[in-house]
């Protein structure tokens, strides 16, 4: 049991537990904050997986932008007085039965996935002695994945338009 393992176990436990709390908490503000906890832990997990750049992105984009957006919306909608209402949908038990069966077969079938990892053959290999992880990412991002990169940019642009369009003056919508 080395330090790496200990850190991983802590992170895994914390992420699982905080996300579990997120989906059962009654108050949406709490739920979003628990997701925030999970995401911060995940950022650290990405650091242990060797990518400091992704750690930064995770914190800036996820924690800094997305989750703040969630919080804004929660405050805007202002749900506190409805807190005493039910958390889960009605007749959840039926769904839960399906869910359990699903879990069973899911894990049965996906056992092979765990064996896949080292079998992957690197298509775009990187070598940390030739430069940092960030450098390698940049190299491939602006050559091999350039098109996808542009597409993501377009998608984000469209999202901005979409959000503005959806939330323009509601009188016009009807």
């Amino acid at each position: 049991m080395n330090w790496n393992m200990l850190i991983f176990l802590y992170l895994a436990f914390a992420m699982s537990f905080s996300s579990f709390l997120a989906i059962i908490s009654r108050n949406p503000v709490h739920a979003v904050l628990w997701v925030l906890v999970m995401i911060l832990h995940q950022a650290f997990l990405l650091y242990t997986l060797g990518s400091e750049f992704l750690t930064a992105v995770q914190i800036i984009v996820y924690a800094g932008a997305v989750l703040v957006l969630f919080l804004f919306v929660v405050y805007m909608i202002n749900l506190r007085k409805e807190e005493r209402w039910k958390v889960f949908v009605r007749r959840s038990s039926y769904g839960f039965i399906i869910f359990l069966f699903f879990l069973y077969f899911f894990f049965k079938n996906l056992a092979f996935l765990t064996a896949l990892g080292p079998a992957f053959k690197a298509q775009l290999p990187y070598d940390l002695s030739q430069g940092s992880n960030l450098l390698w990412m940049a190299r491939y991002l602006y050559s091999h994945y350039l098109f996808q990169f542009e597409v993501i940019g377009c998608i984000l642009l469209v999202v901005i338009f979409g959000a503005v369009f959806l939330l323009r003056k509601l009188k016009e919508v009807g």
Partner: protein, 100 residues
């Protein structure tokens, strides 16, 4: 060095938790937050693959995933706000126009 299987297991657990949220929660905002949890499960998986196979693709896919997650959250939340403004409701089982 943590074995790859551990990461897969973590990813699956996160995925299942997120899925449970999507399946059973009534609040549309928490529904969307659960989708983010599922996204994060994917991020863990891809980053771990990349780390273990010494292949850069996984990291880049994580990068794209974060972008996609931001886009998805933006659209989803604006729809939620729109719904709330029009109907004053955020509980998905109360919004049943398409009841058969």
């Amino acid at each position: 060095m943590v074995p790859f299987e551990y990461y897969v297991t973590l990813s699956l657990i996160l995925f299942v938790i997120g899925l449970a949220g999507v399946l059973f929660r009534r609040n549309i905002i928490i529904l969307l937050a659960s989708l983010e949890i599922i996204m994060n499960a994917l991020i863990v998986l891809f980053a771990a693959i990349s780390f273990h196979a010494k292949d850069i693709s996984g990291y880049l896919i994580v990068f794209f995933l974060i972008g996609m997650a931001a886009a998805e959250a933006g659209v989803g939340l604006s729809l939620a706000v729109l719904l709330y403004k029009k109907l004053k409701k955020v509980y998905v089982d109360e919004i049943n126009f398409y009841r058969g």
